[in-house]
């Protein structure tokens, strides 16, 4: 599955239970000149990710916008740096409480991106 969303590219590929996320500030992942960033990884249970993502968006409706979320997620990164940011969120108490679970705000936004992309919603236009 692949979708191009707004002025950024958002690539969501799934194989089996795995899902790979690619975000780019430019046009596509094939654009060699673009400061492409890979926010990748394998979410083994997409339903869980979306459930949490939607819960986060309920709590922060002002972020119910893919561009906004990608902007908030910050500069180019790969999966490992995302994991590191999640750790740092816990280290520095950058957390959001979802149904009693204090979770990393970076993780929550990443889940929200997946939830938005999957639902085909794009409120940026």
């Amino acid at each position: 599955m692949m979708a191009t969303i707004s002025r950024r590219s958002f690539l969501l590929t799934a194989s089996g239970t795995g899902v790979c996320l690619l975000l780019s500030n430019a046009c596509s992942k094939n654009d060699a000149n673009a400061p492409a960033m890979m926010l990748g990884g394998n979410f083994q249970d997409l339903a869980s990710v979306k459930l949490i993502g939607r819960e986060y968006l309920k709590l922060t409706p002002e972020e119910n916008n893919l561009d906004r979320l990608i902007e908030l997620l910050g500069p180019a990164r790969n999966w490992e740096s995302l994991r590191q940011t999640v750790r740092n969120d816990f280290r520095h108490d950058r957390l959001v409480n979802l149904q009693g679970w204090p979770i990393s705000v970076t993780a929550a936004r990443t889940y929200a991106v997946v939830a938005l992309a999957e639902s085909g919603l794009d409120t940026t236009k």
């Binding site: 990884g41 394998n42 979410f43 083994q44 249970d45 339903a47 869980s48 990710v49 459930l51 949490i52 819960e55 995302l82 994991r83 999640v86 750790r87 816990f90 280290r91 108490d93 409480n97 979802l98 149904q99 009693g100 679970w101 204090p102 979770i103 990393s104 993780a107 889940y111």
Partner: protein, 499 residues
């Protein structure tokens, strides 16, 4: 020898070297430690072999304070008034207090014991032996089994070993007492007054009454009150024939500084930890007769307590939660991929979290007497007991540190369904009554001295957790036993002097 005091002839005088009031953990420890010695012991127990409603009703009283879960029923529900005492409610948790618990801490008002932990160490060893279980020595190889590695010890937390031995002292020592040549246990024998000399400098007797109207008096060389953290104060305050303010209360300290453990049983958590982290030793099973059972509890490191001005607090991880909600499971699955790479998801280990937190020793938390009288004509008690922000803040800080610790190390996640401002609603207690006859070298700051002798009285001692200046986070019973064994040694010397 066991005698039912209801069968005694009226106004009997019972003579002994030592009179122990109360056959619970402290009283029975001292009595059995003196078994077959040349010291005659008169042991008084209010109840019989089993719980009896009219005897238990002697505990009824009033509560006033800010803890929603505590009501008037607390005074009856959290104690047992028969042979073995409140050990019949005991979960069997055994652990010494920590070194820092004995120290004067500038962030904990009224803290500090009259001696350091090292002083009690030999008695903790004796207590382990008394309980028939292993020691807590840090160099004990049994406690450093590589098969069960410590997971949380470091610069933030320390893993601490608890042992479990839910001894019911009544059934455990009944036969020994019955067979003893020098111990006389009187059942249904209620101490109603401590009678002092006119000068108030010594005790000359204990008045005894049964609910059937029999009266007696005990005369001994030394007396030990071992009736529990609330009744010790009640008996001292109610013994006001010579001194209006009661016995040992010349500085208005008796009954003050009541402490319990602030317990959160299930309001916080769960904690989940990924399946590849060995957590076998963190699963607590209490009320267990298995003498070898032990478990690791998580404590904040002493340095953590100091730098964050926290009270002593311990976290026990109980058997896995059976009910994990859909959202909880989603959090686990979604977090897994952020913590683990190239691994197939497996359900994590899920634990219920039980916090046990020290309370600040506060003179306003106190036991007083009411005008209401019980069936023996003794004034009932009123317990004023409120928690402070410090206890709530400590538990909140601990949760926050743990949440950070497990997530940063990619061990798992911690849930906190109750916001800090609502934590008070979730507070429960441990049936641990402490502090009302606190220990201090200075008579103006403590009811008993470092030997647990009541200041100003040469032959009256207090055993049990009412002497604790601070409570630490561990259950009090193991320290009660250690202090009782220490007192036994002291009494042997003291009684020789009297002879």
């Amino acid at each position: 020898m066991i005698i039912d005091a209801r069968q005694l002839p009226g106004n009997t005088t019972l003579d002994a070297d030592l009179c122990i009031v109360g056959a619970g953990v402290a009283g029975l420890t001292i009595a059995t430690a003196l078994d077959r010695s040349n010291i005659s012991v008169c042991l008084l127990e209010s109840g019989g072999h089993k719980q009896e409603a009219d005897t238990q009703d002697l505990y009824r009283g009033e509560y006033e304070g800010n803890i929603p879960a505590v009501g008037n029923g607390y005074l009856k529900r959290t104690r047992r008034r028969y042979l073995g005492g409140t050990s019949s409610l005991w979960g069997g948790f055994c652990r010494p207090l920590e070194k820092i618990d004995f120290e004067e801490r500038d962030w904990v008002p009224n803290s500090g014991w009259p001696f350091p932990r090292d002083h009690l160490d030999p008695y903790y060893k004796s207590a382990s032996k008394f309980m028939g279980m292993g020691t807590f020595d840090e160099d004990n190889p049994e406690l450093n089994d590589p098969e069960f590695p410590s997971q949380f010890s470091g610069d933030v937390f320390e893993d601490k070993v608890f042992r479990f031995r839910a001894t019911r002292f009544g059934s455990e020592y009944r036969q020994q007492i019955a067979d003893s040549p020098n111990i006389s246990l009187y059942l249904h024998a209620n101490a109603t007054e401590i009678v002092t000399t006119q000068s108030g400098a010594a005790v000359e007797g204990i008045e005894v009454a049964t609910l059937t109207g029999t009266r007696a008096r005990v005369r001994a060389k030394c007396y030990v009150l071992a009736t529990g953290g609330i009744e010790n104060a009640r008996l001292l305050l109610a013994s006001n024939t010579i001194n209006e303010q009661g016995v040992g209360n010349q500085h208005d300290l008796v009954g003050r500084y009541f402490m319990e453990h602030s317990v959160i049983r299930s309001g916080l958590g769960p904690l989940f930890v990924w399946d590849d982290i060995p957590m076998n030793l963190y699963r607590v099973r209490c009320y267990d007769e298995d003498r070898d059972r032990r478990a690791e509890f998580i404590y904040p490191h002493a340095g953590t307590l100091q730098s964050r001005k926290m009270l002593s607090v311990a976290l026990a991880l109980h058997l896995p939660e059976k009910t994990v909600g859909d959202f909880d499971r989603a959090i686990m699955k979604a977090s897994f991929d952020l913590d683990k790479t190239n691994k197939i998801y497996t359900d994590p280990q899920v634990f219920k979290m039980l916090y046990m937190c020290e309370q600040v020793p506060n003179p306003a938390n106190r036991v007083t007497l009411t005008r209401d009288k019980d069936a023996l004509g003794m004034p009932r008690v009123k317990l004023r007991w409120s928690l402070s922000d410090h206890e709530v803040r400590t538990i909140s800080q601990f949760t926050s540190l743990l949440r950070q610790w497990v997530a940063v190390r990619r061990y798992g996640r911690v849930k906190q369904p109750i916001p800090e401002d609502s934590l008070m609603q979730a507070m429960s207690w441990g049936c641990h009554h402490m502090g009302t006859t606190r220990m201090h070298r200075d008579p103006k700051r403590g009811v008993v001295n470092e030997n647990c002798r009541v200041h100003g009285l040469e032959n009256l001692f207090i055993a049990g957790s009412s002497v604790y200046p601070t409570s630490g986070a561990a259950n009090p019973t193991f320290t009660i036993i250690a202090l009782a064994l220490r007192m036994t040694d002291h009494l042997k010397t003291k009684l020789k002097q009297f002879s």
